[in-house]
C-alpha cells in the first residue's frame, strides 16, 4: 500500500514498511558482501606482509677459519653468510663478528652490533678496546661496557671448534629491549 509512512525514511517519503525493511536488508547485504570480499583479499595480503613476524630461519654453523690461523689473545674480524639467505640478497647476506681466541681451544665470538643502537663497533688492538663510531660507546676486550650509552655488554654468538675449523652459529641481529 502506498500510504504515507510515519517512520523517518531516507529518500522517498512514500515507501511502505515492506519496502523499507527490504532496503535495510539490501544495504546490509551490500555491506556484508563488500566486507567478505575485502576480507578474502586482505587476509593473504596481511599474512604476506607480516610474514617475518612468524618465520624463524634454521640457524647453521659457519666456518670462519682454521684454528691455527687465530693467535691466542687476539681479536680478529671474521665474515660469514647468514643462515638461508634469499637468492637475491647479494652482499647483504654477509655477517661479521669479532672472534677472540682465549687459549688453545676456547674462542669468544662477539656481535659487532653495539648494544646502544646497533652500529658496528671497531676493535682497536693496541688500545684493547672496542669503540663505536655512532654515539661514543666503548667496550673492554671481554665485551663489558667501558664508557658511553650502551646498556649491555657485547652479545656473544655460539662458537665451537669442529675438525680443526672455528665455527660460529648464525644468529639474529641482537635487538636491545
Amino acid at each position: 500500500m502506498n500510504e504515507p509512512s510515519t517512520e523517518p525514511s531516507s529518500g522517498c517519503g512514500r515507501a511502505s514498511p515492506a519496502e523499507l525493511s527490504r532496503r535495510k536488508f539490501l544495504s546490509r547485504l551490500s555491506f556484508a558482501a563488500g566486507g567478505v570480499g575485502a576480507l578474502i583479499v586482505m587476509l593473504p595480503v596481511a599474512g604476506f606482509i607480516l610474514a617475518p613476524f612468524f618465520k624463524r630461519p634454521k640457524e647453521v654453523w659457519r666456518s670462519v677459519g682454521k684454528v691455527e690461523s687465530f693467535r691466542i689473545g687476539e681479536t680478529t674480524a671474521v665474515q660469514y653468510d647468514d643462515a638461508s639467505p634469499l637468492p637475491w640478497a647479494g652482499v647483504t647476506a654477509h655477517s661479521a663478528a669479532w672472534l677472540r681466541r682465549m687459549n688453545t681451544d676456547t674462542f669468544i665470538a662477539f656481535s659487532i652490533n653495539c648494544t646502544h643502537l646497533g652500529c658496528p663497533v671497531r676493535w682497536l688492538p693496541k688500545a684493547n678496546l672496542f669503540m663505536c663510531p655512532c654515539h661514543g660507546g666503548v667496550y673492554y676486550e671481554d665485551g663489558t661496557v667501558a664508557a658511553g650509552p650502551p646498556p649491555l655488554p657485547l652479545p656473544r654468538y655460539p662458537v665451537r671448534v669442529k675438525d680443526g675449523d672455528v665455527q660460529i652459529q648464525t644468529s639474529p641481529i641482537p635487538i636491545t629491549k
Partner: protein
C-alpha cells in the same frame, strides 16, 4: 580564428565533462586580499612533492630495489645514465625542500592561529602529512642502498626494539627477518613508492578539500577573537566585501615562489648532485660511520646526548606524546586570540623549537662524541722529545686510544676534555687516579696499562702545560 576554435572546443569539453567550468570556478574562489607571501609554503610543499613524484618515477625506470642489485643500478644512474646524476640530485634536494617547506608551512599556520575553528581538521590532516613526509625522507635514504643504508635500517630496528611488548616483532618487521637481507630493501621500496605516497595523495586531497571548504584563513588581527558562533558569518562578510579571486591575484605568488624553489633545487642538483654513494651495502664491512641525512642530524644528536638508559622515553614515549599533543592542539585551543602579538607562548614554542633543532643539528654534524679514528700519532715537535718516558708516553697516548677522544694541541678527538694544558689542572697522582678508574664516558685503564706504561703516560701528560707551543 584559432581563438574561436579553442573556445568552441573548451565549451564542448565543459558540456560533456563539466570539468573546465568546475576548475575555473574553484581556481577563482575568493581569498582574503592581504594573504600574501607568508601563505606560499603550503603549495611549495606540494610542489616539492610533485618534483619528488616525477623524479622518483624517472629513477624507477632504472633502479632495481633488490639487495644484490640496487647498488649497481645506483652507480649506473649516477655515472652513466644520461642526466642520471642530475636526476638523483633533484630527488635529494627535492626531499630537502619538501622537509624545509613543510616545517615553514607548519610554523606559519601555528603562529597565525589558522588551526583554530573551523580549520581543526586542516591541522590534524597536516600533522599526519608531516609524519608521512618524514617517513618518506627516512625510507628514501634507505633506498640509496649503500653501507650507510644498512646501518640506518639496523639503527631503526634497534629503536623499534625499545617499544614495549611488540618491540622485537617491530624490529623484525623493519628488517624483514632477523638480519638485514634480501627481504629488507624490497619492503622499504613498497613503503616508499606505494604505501606512503598513497597515503600522501589521499590526505593531500582531503587537506586541499578542507582548504577549499573553509577558505584561506585571513591574516590574524590583535584583539580579533575567533568565536565559533560568529566566525563563519564574519569570514563570509569579509570575503564577499573585499575577497580577491585566488587565480590569479594570489596564485601568482605561489607560482613564482615554486618556480624559484625549483630553480634552487635544480642549481643545487647541478652543482653538487646527490650524496656520494658509500661502500656497498655489506653488513660484514665493519668500518662504517653511519650518519642520517641533514634533516635528521638533530635527531642523531638527540640519540647521542640523551641520558643513558632513557632511550625508551626519548625514542618511544616522547615522540608519541608530541604526536598526541600536535593532533590535539586545535581541539583544545580552537577559539580566542589568533594574533602572535597576543600569543607569547606560541611564539616562544616556535622559537625554542627552531633554536633546539638548529643547535642539535650543529652538534650532530660535528658529532664530538664519536671517536676520531683518524687521529695520527703526535708529531715530534708537539711531543718535544724523541726518546725517554715522555716520547713513550706520547706513543701510548695514541696507541691506547686516548687521542681518539682527547685533544692535544688541536689534534685528536673531542669526546673528552681538551688535554693540551692538563698539567695545569691535574697533578700526577690525580692523573693516575683518573686514567686508572675512568669515568662514565671514559674506560678504566687500570687493567690495560702496566705500571711502567702508566708512568710514561703520566710523564708525557705532565709536560702538557699552557707554555708549550
Amino acid at each position: 580564428m584559432f581563438n574561436r576554435i579553442f573556445h568552441r572546443v573548451w565549451e564542448w569539453l565543459d558540456d560533456r565533462t563539466g570539468l573546465p567550468g568546475m576548475i575555473g570556478k574553484t581556481a577563482k574562489h575568493l581569498v582574503p586580499p592581504d594573504a600574501k607571501w607568508c601563505y606560499v609554503f603550503g603549495s611549495a610543499t606540494l610542489c616539492a612533492f610533485m618534483v619528488q613524484v616525477v623524479s622518483g618515477v624517472a629513477l624507477a625506470f632504472c633502479y632495481i630495489p633488490s639487495a644484490s642489485e640496487a647498488y649497481a643500478t645506483l652507480q649506473f644512474i649516477s655515472n652513466e645514465a644520461p642526466f642520471g646524476h642530475l636526476l638523483r640530485g633533484l630527488h635529494y634536494y627535492g626531499a630537502s625542500a619538501m622537509v624545509l617547506m613543510v616545517g615553514l608551512h607548519m610554523a606559519r599556520v601555528f603562529l597565525a592561529g589558522s588551526y583554530k575553528f573551523p580549520r581543526e581538521l586542516n591541522w590534524a590532516t597536516g600533522v599526519l602529512l608531516l609524519a608521512f613526509t618524514l617517513a618518506m625522507g627516512f625510507t628514501g635514504q634507505l633506498l640509496r642502498g649503500d653501507q650507510n643504508a644498512v646501518w640506518t635500517v639496523v639503527v631503526a630496528a634497534e629503536q623499534a626494539g625499545r617499544v614495549p611488548f611488540i618491540g622485537q616483532w617491530l624490529a623484525h618487521f623493519i628488517l624483514g627477518g632477523e638480519t638485514v637481507g634480501g627481504a629488507t630493501f624490497t619492503r622499504f621500496f613498497a613503503i616508499h613508492v606505494f604505501i606512503m605516497p598513497g597515503f600522501i595523495f589521499a590526505f593531500v586531497g582531503l587537506h586541499l578539500w578542507l582548504v577549499l571548504r573553509h577558505g584561506i584563513s585571513e591574516p590574524p588581527k590583535a584583539g580579533k577573537l575567533v568565536d565559533p558562533k560568529t566566525y563563519r558569518r564574519e569570514y563570509k562578510e569579509l570575503i564577499e566585501k573585499s575577497g580577491k579571486p585566488f587565480w590569479p591575484d594570489a596564485a601568482w605568488r605561489d607560482l613564482v615562489f615554486c618556480a624559484a624553489m625549483i630553480v634552487v633545487i635544480a642549481v643545487l642538483a647541478l652543482i653538487s648532485g646527490a650524496p656520494q654513494l658509500g661502500k656497498p651495502p655489506d653488513p660484514g664491512i665493519i668500518d662504517a660511520t653511519p650518519r642520517p641525512d641533514w634533516y635528521f642530524m638533530w635527531y642523531f644528536a638527540v640519540l647521542a646526548l640523551l641520558p643513558h638508559g632513557s632511550e625508551q622515553y626519548f625514542l618511544v614515549y616522547g615522540p608519541l606524546l608530541v604526536g598526541v599533543i600536535l593532533i590535539a592542539l586545535p581541539f583544545v585551543f580552537n577559539r580566542g586570540e589568533r594574533s602572535p602579538q597576543r600569543r607569547p607562548w606560541a611564539v616562544a614554542i616556535v622559537l625554542m623549537t627552531v633554536v633546539m633543532i638548529a643547535v642539535l643539528w650543529v652538534k650532530g654534524v660535528k658529532s664530538p662524541w664519536s671517536p676520531n679514528f683518524e687521529a695520527q700519532p703526535l708529531s715530534a715537535s708537539v711531543v718535544g722529545a724523541t726518546n725517554g718516558p715522555v716520547f713513550l708516553g706520547a706513543q701510548l697516548f695514541h696507541d691506547k686510544g686516548c687521542l681518539d677522544c682527547h685533544l692535544i694541541a688541536a689534534d685528536g678527538g673531542r669526546r673528552g676534555p681538551d688535554l693540551t694544558a692538563v698539567a695545569d689542572r691535574l697533578s700526577a697522582n690525580q692523573m693516575i687516579l683518573k686514567i686508572a678508574n675512568g669515568a662514565v664516558n671514559m674506560p678504566a685503564y687500570a687493567a690495560n696499562l702496566t705500571p711502567a706504561q702508566m708512568d710514561a703516560l703520566v710523564a708525557f701528560l705532565q709536560t702538557r702545560t699552557i707554555q708549550r707551543p
